[in-house]
Symmetry: C2
Subunit: 225 residues, 2 copies
């Protein structure tokens, strides 16, 4: 009835639409963003949104790009490995705060490598890979490996982020551990062995340990770092 956060007289714009989309995605995940919920929140009609945005895919791409750009904007000067860790952690935290981002990043990367998200992340990592001393012919492959790890790991952590926000994180990890321990002993000996290790692990520590592992590999292969 009575709008609280916005005056209905405020003009519609692409930025306001994307902003509202991010809020809806944060609140309700991908299912929370609908042209119905969006028109309701913006107090407008469906056609008005289509005037500013081509379709839902473009809207999701714009929301993803905005969040990623903000996450990469934090620039803390340091050694190349430290900067790579900072960039990686920035993306990790962005996905922690916006769990829907993990799936969207995967979609952006696989569907349109010439979009805006792929270049942004590649550029942020790639510059530091160059500073690391990786020779010219190997920079694309090396950067790609780092980006692959970061996105893969961040995607795996999206679930944990959601569970941490809603319920008790310890309960979530316990449930996963319990499920792993109940797996068939002959088919899944390794899973049963690491179930305990999983139970108490820290996502962020594990993520950064993986970054360090890849960095150690780069050093070993290229004697750079």
């Amino acid at each position: 009835m009575t709008p609280r956060t916005r005056r209905r007289t405020e003009a519609l714009s692409r930025d306001r639409i994307v902003e509202a989309a991010v809020e809806l995605l944060d609140a309700g995940g991908e299912a929370g963003l609908t042209f119905r919920t969006l028109t309701e929140r913006l107090e407008t009609g469906a056609g008005a949104i289509y005037w500013h945005v081509a379709n839902k895919d473009e809207l999701l791409a714009a929301a993803t790009d905005g969040v990623v750009a903000a996450a990469l904007a934090v620039g803390s000067p340091g050694s190349p490995p430290d900067e790579i860790r900072a960039v990686a952690l920035g993306l990790f935290e962005a996905i922690e705060q916006h769990p829907w981002l993990a799936t969207q990043l995967a979609l952006q990367f696989s569907r349109s490598p010439s979009g805006s998200v792929t270049p942004r992340i590649f550029e942020a990592i790639g510059r530091r890979v160059r500073s690391l001393g990786v020779p010219a012919g190997h920079r694309f492959t090396t950067t790609s490996a780092l980006v692959s790890y970061i996105l893969g790991a961040a995607g795996q952590n999206a679930a944990n982020a959601q569970s941490a926000a809603h319920a008790n994180r310890a309960e979530f990890l316990d449930a996963v551990s319990d499920a792993w321990e109940e797996l068939d002993a002959r088919e899944y000996p390794f899973m049963r062995e690491i179930a305990a290790e999983q139970r108490g692990h820290d996502d962020r520590e594990q993520f950064l340990a993986g970054v360090d592992l890849v960095l150690a590999g780069i050093t070993a292969v290229h004697r750079a770092g």
Copy 2:
């Protein structure tokens, strides 16, 4: 009118439904799998499918699990690093043949780490990580890093796989390279630098180079391998 591949008298079963789902996904991507297209192909009603499968999410999970299980079944004994490369390549090729798998794997991992796909992949990689000589307290983290890389890289290659199937692969790479070369010179110096490198790269080679990079990191950190 006249069914060709199946006799309509053949009984419905969960396996037949999942099999048909995979075929539809392969042919038309995620948009190609619909309860309408599925009932049409199976010459049945919607309710019949719901008798065997709880909902669409479960159907997608079953389709993903089936393809992954088949991909991991190829066991070629060798040194631990060789076996890791073989497992990774098996998943890479499965995604190459079933591009929809990349997104589904990301969803399975982030939504239900206690499902069947996560344990399968973790077990296949983790056993070899143990054989590699990684000490007990580090196996979960190390395996997780490898799996993250594999899934992240495979996801990035899903687009290439699709373009390779339909149009000319060289044309696709050229288009991406061209887009990268047209980026702003001040904001994207690195992307412009590696555009040429991207143009002629081989996905499989690059993927395996990344696996070797992570393996080199594991060796460097744990003196194992």
